[in-house]
């Protein structure tokens, strides 16, 4: 027998998995967050790139003028929320793939929790910072 003892999987099968560190605690809402945020981010990239193409040779004045408008501030904030949600779900998936007890031994759980905690704090920090830049609070 290899890495997994049969005690893990005998009898009544495996229990359903729950996790406290996902964005929403269900796979469906995590998936929903990831897909909707992806659409928002795509729209944001298209609008920004489209504006750049339509205003070739633009300078600081035009660029800051774009971001001074309320719709662009709201759109940017929406994109920032989408980015935070998208990154949370995505990184949680990456961490639970690679930073596990199977990969790293007993320390795996601690390392994973630290990585998840750090990623959430960094994303919240960027989010707050983004609000400050956009709205000048």
């Amino acid at each position: 027998m290899g890495a997994f003892g049969s005690s893990d999987c005998g009898g009544g099968g495996l229990d359903m998995v729950t996790s406290a560190t996902t964005a929403s605690r269900t796979g469906l809402y995590d998936w929903f967050i990831q897909r909707t945020s992806a659409v928002i981010l795509l729209a944001y990239v298209l609008v920004c790139v489209g504006w750049m193409l339509a205003n070739s040779g633009f300078g600081y004045t035009q660029w800051s003028g774009l971001f001074a408008q309320t719709w662009m501030k709201v759109f940017s904030l929406l994109a920032l929320v989408a980015l935070a949600g998208h990154a949370w779900v995505g990184l949680w998936v990456v961490f639970t793939d690679y930073l596990t007890e199977r990969m790293l031994g007993a320390a795996g759980k601690t390392i994973r929790l630290l990585a998840e905690g750090a990623s959430v704090i960094i994303m919240l920090a960027y989010f707050v910072w983004g609000i400050k830049i956009l709205w000048g609070l």
Binding site: M1, G2, A3, F4, S6, D8, C9, G10, G12, G13, L14, M16, V17, T18, S19, T22, R25, T26, G27, L28, D30, W31, F32, W92, V93, T96, D97, Y98, T100, R102, M103
Partner: protein, 234 residues
């Protein structure tokens, strides 16, 4: 002479696995990979692998041939061999018991988790529960699975979380019973699949579709399950 490199590991003797090089005389014939394994075993009976029907029905001889999972008995050398070289390894991601034989306990535990049997609490009719031809058609492409584990062991999500992600084989069967009009446990089945791992670890890379020896499409079935979960929650 065909150059074969075969994965060897006997935990009672070997400290760690190694690759053994063997030359096999195929007589210029386009043999099946299983035939080559039989020829190797005729020379060295300590080589161990699973096999039974030798015609792609039982699903025992799933192995990794030149990096691709498949059934050795229905994979011709012309399809598997590259540059006169054939590398035989056990199915990846599962613990090796010996040589090409893997421990399928986790694979079966995930299969068990989807409760792969018809559930219907209403009294059984005198003869049988009837389906229209259209209703029966929904099960095509689902019921044919022989549980060879080629798909699940080709899936990175199953490699990383074989205890949490049900895997393509199990999910194909989960959908087989979700799609069955005679089954009335749809809601309970879906409720058990809504967590972040069971279904949603599938990222749709279709490695499972690529290797299925029966030509089935687990990714499509998983998409159907996801849609059912979505419409159940909205």
């Amino acid at each position: 002479m065909l150059q074969v490199s075969i994965y060897r590991y006997n935990p009672e003797i070997d400290a760690e696995p190694y690759m053994q090089d063997v030359q096999v005389e195929t007589g210029g014939k386009d043999l099946m990979v299983l035939d080559v394994m039989e020829l190797i075993k005729a020379e060295d009976e300590t080589v161990v692998y699973r096999r039974s029907c030798r015609e792609g029905v039982c699903g025992s001889d799933g192995v990794n041939m030149n990096g691709t999972n498949g059934l050795a008995c229905v994979t011709p050398l012309s399809k598997a061999v590259r540059k006169n070289k054939l590398v035989l390894r056990p199915l990846p991601g599962l613990p090796v018991i010996r040589d090409l034989v893997v421990d399928m306990s986790l694979f079966y535990a995930q299969y068990e988790k989807v409760q792969p049997y018809l559930q219907n609490q209403s009294p059984a009719p005198a003869i049988e529960r009837l389906q229209s031809p259209e209703e029966r058609e929904k099960l095509d492409g689902l019921y044919e699975c022989i549980l060879c584990a080629c798909c699940s062991t080709a899936c990175p999500s199953f490699w990383w979380n074989p205890d949490k992600f049900i895997g393509p084989a199990g999910l194909l069967q989960a959908y087989r019973f979700l799609a069955d009009t005679r089954d009335t446990a749809t809601d309970e089945r879906l409720a058990r699949l809504a967590d972040p791992f069971s279904v949603f670890r599938c990222h749709g890379i279709q490695a499972c579709v690529n290797v299925c020896p029966k030509g089935l499409n687990p990714t499509r079935a998983i998409g159907h399950i996801r849609n059912m979960l979505l419409s159940r929650a909205t």
